[in-house]
Assembly symmetry: C2
Homo-oligomer: 287 residues x 2
């Protein structure tokens, strides 16, 4: 299985367009918004989330470029972990794909129909399918799902739908046995996560925040201590101690306030010392 | 007045992510989706349309970057010519701006509330105002409006609202007298357009298509002759003969099928011979 990290930042990317904090103006390597492409055969590709940066991400990634026919594309489908705009808005930019299947939790499918009716707009272009996540096998990849959070996106705060609203995916290459776990949003280290990641070759973990208080410190916003936990993101300081030998661990979905985006920071070094990596956009893994 | 062309391509940009036609694979200079920034004083900036590429466009344009305060931004507002996704989707990416005024025709404001409820999502972040286009003066810029088309966006085809659905803007610097006309969508050379552009220093014209039949030829899609007119875009071949001396004329909003994107094409040469330019992303004008 080939795994390409198309984007490795949280919503807004790094630097964030509306932020002039010390990190955003530091010149640290830029990162687009979180999105991953996977393929068993290197020909048909599936997206894990679809960021608003998807147009630039596809153009920057040769295996995802169109061809050889004038409107042939290598994308075969999309899996959404949640209904956040940062993970789903790119669907509207793929509207002229000729149609793709999209798998997501039931809550997410409903939010994209009710509170944010992306589905009806996209369906106007024809060929799209909206499918509930479950055990599925697609083009040599066996996918399973772990609920990890009930955090609703801001635009759907009023929804009374029961969760899960956020899931993690385990994707196994049926032929090679290689396993990827994709968990860009973790409210906590969820029940069953050790088992879910047991035989993984690579685990992409929620690295939104490094520490629980960084957002208020960096932006001078009055967010308050512990806000990141309320925002549905377990800080790296909370997950680093849970890593065990076996899988490669990598933090993605890094917020612009997260000091680890600066390769010279002590926090960056602490992540490496803790046994995890902080890959940049465009990094490819083979599993 | 400073005018910066943030993007100069039609929907999908150039190359288009899902297209492998001869032009899209030619290596001709890339262009992001249509968007313009204007400022009377070089400090406060207004966007004309907001493309889905807005994050990358802002990061690539130093005067639009955040600062000096950690969350201070130089954007002061947005003017929409229509409700096309390519011109409005970027609003969702600006949602954390702290609020901006957005001017648009009444039909557009309603479409962004009813068929594509971007407004309610964005309003959840606070501080946004939605204002009907009219004669307005903002930060030293006097804005007037000309209806140019009743073309509804695809997602709002069923709307029974009367038009106009598409307008052109004339923006005058009150101090210098410099005048910009922005008309990225023209169904025809509209009544009153000669007068509207009479004393303009720069007219940004709809250059979506060069000729009426290029879309079906380039993509092998069965669009049929004259489809571009039905899609609400007067081809360059139809407008080139209407240009007169006086203003600088520039075609933007170029579709990926438009041969003028290739600087070596005879069509590109014909535009220059006809007295217009084909500026790339990042081009700045002073009026």
């Amino acid at each position: 299985m080939r795994v390409i990290l198309l984007g490795t930042a949280a919503g807004g990317g790094f630097p964030q367009w509306n932020c002039a904090c010390a990190l955003c103006t530091s010149g640290a390597p830029p990162r687009t918004q979180d999105c991953v492409a996977v393929s068993a055969d290197g020909e048909g590709w599936y997206l894990l989330n679809v960021s608003p940066d998807i147009r630039a991400q596809i153009l920057a990634t040769p295996p995802l470029r169109a061809g050889p026919g004038p409107r042939e594309i290598p994308l075969r489908g999309v899996l959404l972990t949640d209904a956040e705009l940062d993970h789903s808005l790119g669907l509207l930019m793929l509207r002229e794909a000729g149609g793709l299947p999209v798998w997501a939790p039931d809550t997410v499918l409903r939010a994209l129909s009710d509170q944010f009716p992306a589905r009806s707009i996209i369906d106007g272009y024809g060929g799209w399918e909206w499918l509930s996540t479950s055990e599925i096998t697609i083009d040599g990849l066996r996918v399973s799902v772990l609920p990890v959070s009930d955090k609703r996106p801001k635009y759907a705060r009023s929804s009374t739908e029961d969760g899960p609203w956020v899931v993690a995916y385990r994707i196994e290459d049926v032929r090679t046995g290689g396993v990827l776990v994709y968990a860009p949003c973790l409210k906590s280290w969820p029940d069953g996560f050790d088992e879910f990641t047991r035989d993984a070759g690579l685990v992409l973990l929620d690295g939104t925040f490094y520490a629980p208080d960084e957002m208020s410190a960096a932006t001078e916003a009055k967010v308050g201590d512990g806000a990141q936990l309320a925002m549905g993101h377990l800080p790296i300081t909370g997950s680093l101690a849970r890593l065990r030998s076996g899988p490669r661990w990598a933090f993605t979905h890094l917020n612009n306030t997260n000091p680890v985006v600066d390769p010279a920071s002590p926090e960056h070094a602490a992540v490496l010392d803790g046994g995890a990596s902080l890959p940049l956009d465009g990094t490819e893994f083979k599993l």
